[in-house]
């Protein structure tokens, strides 16, 4: 039960953060126990945006349910769709054409860039710098325009379908993406100049919110949160899907385990994403963008699991099929949920002002956690 705001018997202060609070990036409710300014306990309360997506998916067909997953982790909507499409393809044993594979990876990496840009702006805003927010959104609009031309939407694209992608690339796609890469290469250095070396920013980040590698593993953290603690967990490297196995890119890890390490991992990941896009943009194979599939998809009886690396970590799709046109049960393994569970461990012993910085580097998307 939610504890009332007030003082406990030990003289500790209990306060609420959220559900409506700008730095919770949505509607997360934290009940914080404080001793003076020091955090003793952080208790997250979920469910303020629980939309019962898993239950909904049980009554939607295998083509229909993918569109709902764009609304889960809306900053990685392509990658969510990708994970679901992969799982259905695994069950149906559909062979995806090479062109579709490359398009999917390109879109995934563009999405990852857009997500990290937004994270950078929002996190800098959380720790008190307003300007980076405007810088980040300026660059993000360029990606949104590219997405809009090809997919028809800016945010929730629903572009990946079982068997490939919904439509072929826009004729201007390659030109626009190359322009964007040239443009963003200079901007990412500007990001570093503006924020990374800033003394105030560093003092807010360095040594704050320490998470050891052991704790990261035991809490099930994935993505940049775990890689900031030195845990190698990039699904693109460990279990390569689509064309990731043939690409040259590094899995970015840092050993600090603090907020600054997690920050640096994401900044380097942006550069890696740019390099992946550069490798692929001139090598998009010709051919079909979608495999020929039946109008009504039926998965054979059984259990299927697939995983992809979103901007926040490992996203898993687990489908139990009874052989019908709709899944019997779907479970999504969302990265944010596991990362949030480590918040209490990370925040204990630090000051209340640091909590916002720690939450900022976790890059929480609440609808992804609540589903």
């Amino acid at each position: 039960m939610i504890q009332e705001v007030g003082t406990t018997e030990q003289g500790e202060l209990v306060i609420n953060l959220g559900p409506q609070h700008p730095s919770t990036h949505g509607v997360l409710h934290l009940v914080i126990t404080l001793s003076g300014e020091t955090i003793k306990k952080v208790e997250p309360h979920l469910g303020y945006i629980h939309r019962s997506i898993e239950k909904m998916c049980e009554s939607l067909s295998y083509r229909q349910f993918i569109y709902v997953t764009s609304r889960m982790d809306y900053l990685s909507s392509h990658i969510n769709n990708h994970g679901c499409a992969l799982c259905v393809e695994k069950g149906m044993q559909i062979e995806v054409p090479p062109r579709a594979k490359v398009i999917r990876v390109l879109m995934d990496e563009l999405t990852r860039l857009a997500s990290h840009q937004l994270w950078w702006g929002a996190m800098a805003m959380d720790v008190g710098a307003l300007t980076p927010f405007f810088h980040a959104f300026r660059e993000r609009e360029a990606i949104n325009d590219i997405m809009e031309e090809t997919c028809g939407a800016r945010l929730t694209m629903n572009y990946m379908v079982p068997g490939g992608v919904m439509a072929d690339l826009h004729p201007d796609f390659q030109k626009k993406v190359k322009e964007f890469i040239r443009f963003f290469r200079t901007k990412i250095d500007e990001y570093d100049e503006l924020v990374t070396g800033n003394v105030i920013f560093k003092s807010r980040m360095e040594g704050i919110g320490y998470l050891s590698a052991e704790s990261a593993v035991s809490y099930g953290c994935t993505g940049p949160t775990a890689r900031g603690s030195g845990v190698s967990c990039d699904i693109r490297k460990l279990y390569p899907y689509e064309v990731y196995g043939q690409l040259q890119f590094e899995e970015v890890t840092a050993t600090g385990g603090d907020c600054f390490a997690r920050y640096m991992v994401r900044m380097q990941e942006m550069r890696q994403s740019l390099s992946i896009i550069e490798q692929l943009i001139d090598n998009i194979p010709e051919g079909e963008f979608q495999a020929k599939t039946k109008a009504v998809l039926k998965l054979p009886k059984g259990e299927f699991y697939s995983r992809v690396e979103t901007a926040r970590g490992e996203f898993g799709v687990y489908i139990i099929s009874e052989g019908g046109t709709t899944p019997y049960r779907i479970k999504f393994r969302s990265p944010g949920f596991s990362n949030l569970s480590a918040l209490d461990h990370m925040a204990r012993g630090y000051k209340i002002g640091d909590l916002v910085a720690i939450m900022g580097t976790l890059d929480l998307v609440i609808p992804d956690i609540d589903r």
């Binding site: 303020y48 945006i49 629980h50 019962s52 909904m56 809306y74 609009e141 800016r154 609440i366």
Partner: protein
């Protein structure tokens, strides 16, 4: 001194707009001035629950820039805000919180339901057990915006429509 209508006693806020049949020129002109001033300085509450919040942030940011129309002072507390933009799905657990936020806002207050979820439940209308089918089940809404999520231009249009409503004294 018969220009103040009888129901004014129930609503004691100065300058609140009423269609005053036979109202004096002084009061109606004063109302117009007050409404004009109000419509050009609407402070939105930072309230985003899901995907639409990102498009709301885009509207606030460099390319679309809602400060051109007088909305840039986004407030984190409802006590300082004039307009609440419901950006995202409202679920059963969030509904009492939304009501409380609305109650905490000072009069005059306005509501924009942004996106399909806040308008009607949208994609989550069928087969769910937890979604409120439209924010107007909880609080009164002035302007609805279609889309999932709406483009920033659509939100700007809604904000301008709200300004127009305020200026004409119908909201």
């Amino acid at each position: 001194m018969d220009v103040v209508p009888q129901n004014m006693a129930d609503k004691p806020f100065p300058g609140e707009v009423h269609p005053t049949a036979g109202g004096g020129i002084l009061v109606t002109k004063l109302d117009e001035v007050i409404n004009w001033a109000r419509s050009n300085s609407l402070w939105p509450l930072v309230f985003g629950t899901s995907c639409c919040a990102i498009e709301m942030m885009s509207t606030a940011a460099a390319k679309y820039d809602w400060s051109r129309f007088g909305f840039e002072v986004a407030r984190a507390t409802p006590r300082q805000a004039d307009v609440i933009i419901i950006a995202g799905t409202i679920v059963n657990k969030m509904a009492p919180v939304l009501k409380r936020l609305y109650d905490q806002m000072a009069d005059p207050k306005y509501v924009i339901a942004m996106g399909a979820c806040a308008t009607s439940g949208g994609p989550f209308f069928y087969n769910t057990y937890s979604v409120v089918k439209g924010a107007d089940h909880v609080i009164p809404v002035d302007v609805y915006v279609a889309g999932c999520p709406p483009r920033p231009e659509a939100l700007l249009h809604a904000l301008i429509a709200l300004q127009k409503k305020i200026r004409e004294g119908v909201s």
